[in-house]
Symmetry: C2
């Protein structure tokens, strides 16, 4: 009887198994990085246009936004409502400092600068930093899954009754 | 001549290669999760004891701490100096809500409650949320690599000159 099959030397079989088992971390591909940056750009463009539906679409359905001086906001529709409740944004910039990830999980760290219309229409300028957790979706896009930011500016001095 | 080696049916060889290539994301092991939680506990114990050297040792050498209302702090020694500059902490609690990761990269999300001694020794209570990026080290420990937090409490009202 003839047994049909490949004949692999034992050392090659062991090498193949070892290579597979010690493949190590799967770093982000160039396509992953491009898709992550595309979502950042979509967020920025939508936020500048005050298109909060499009901003919300850059988050996963079960995303959690963690804004400063407010409780965490869970879920895409609640995140959209949060952004809609903010004063008008007249200037907004993001600078990405770092993108790192493994497989379908990544983080993005960067800084922001923004100007909002405050009381009496006076501009309120803020600058700070952010950290996002991104998840790769079935279509290859990388949506925001966890998003936290805070200001670099010192707290206002508390009022002292006098 | 006898050729020494394993004989594998062709279909099994192809199956092995396919399984290796489509291995998919490598989720955290139970050991990874236990090590992540052990670092959280070490941080908490050290912070309660105001042992800022031990707190700093839970961060990677090139960690970045992103505290609210202050610029980012880069590097373990700068992080230690930052914690040493804070007012005395009289109560501190952490609650871990989520641990997720791939390979040697993970994130931890949770909430904190703390009381500090403010001006005149009056207690200042704060509660908020945090997001950490963790990296697995060669010894199997999972150190803090990026760490951002912010308060849930509303900003103090700005003083109005009158």
């Amino acid at each position: 009887m003839t047994r049909r099959g490949f004949v692999l030397p034992g050392s090659l079989v062991l090498l193949s198994i070892a290579a597979c088992q010690s493949a190590g971390p799967v770093a982000l591909s160039e396509a992953d990085r491009a898709a992550i940056e595309a979502t950042s750009q979509a967020f920025l463009t939508a936020a500048r246009a005050a298109d909060w539906t499009a901003v919300a679409a850059t988050y996963t359905e079960d995303a959690v936004l963690m804004p400063p001086n407010a409780p965490a906001v869970a879920g895409r529709s609640a995140i959209q409502a949060f952004f809609e409740s903010l004063p008008p944004v007249t200037q907004f910039d993001l600078t990405s400092l770092e993108i790192e990830g493994r497989d379908d999980l990544a983080y993005v760290r960067g800084t922001y600068e923004m100007t909002m219309s405050g009381a009496g229409g006076l501009p309120v300028v803020d600058s700070g930093k952010y950290l996002e957790i991104r998840r790769r979706q079935a279509d290859g896009s990388w949506l925001l899954h966890r998003d936290v930011f805070n200001s670099d500016l010192a707290l206002p001095e508390p009022c002292v009754a006098g």
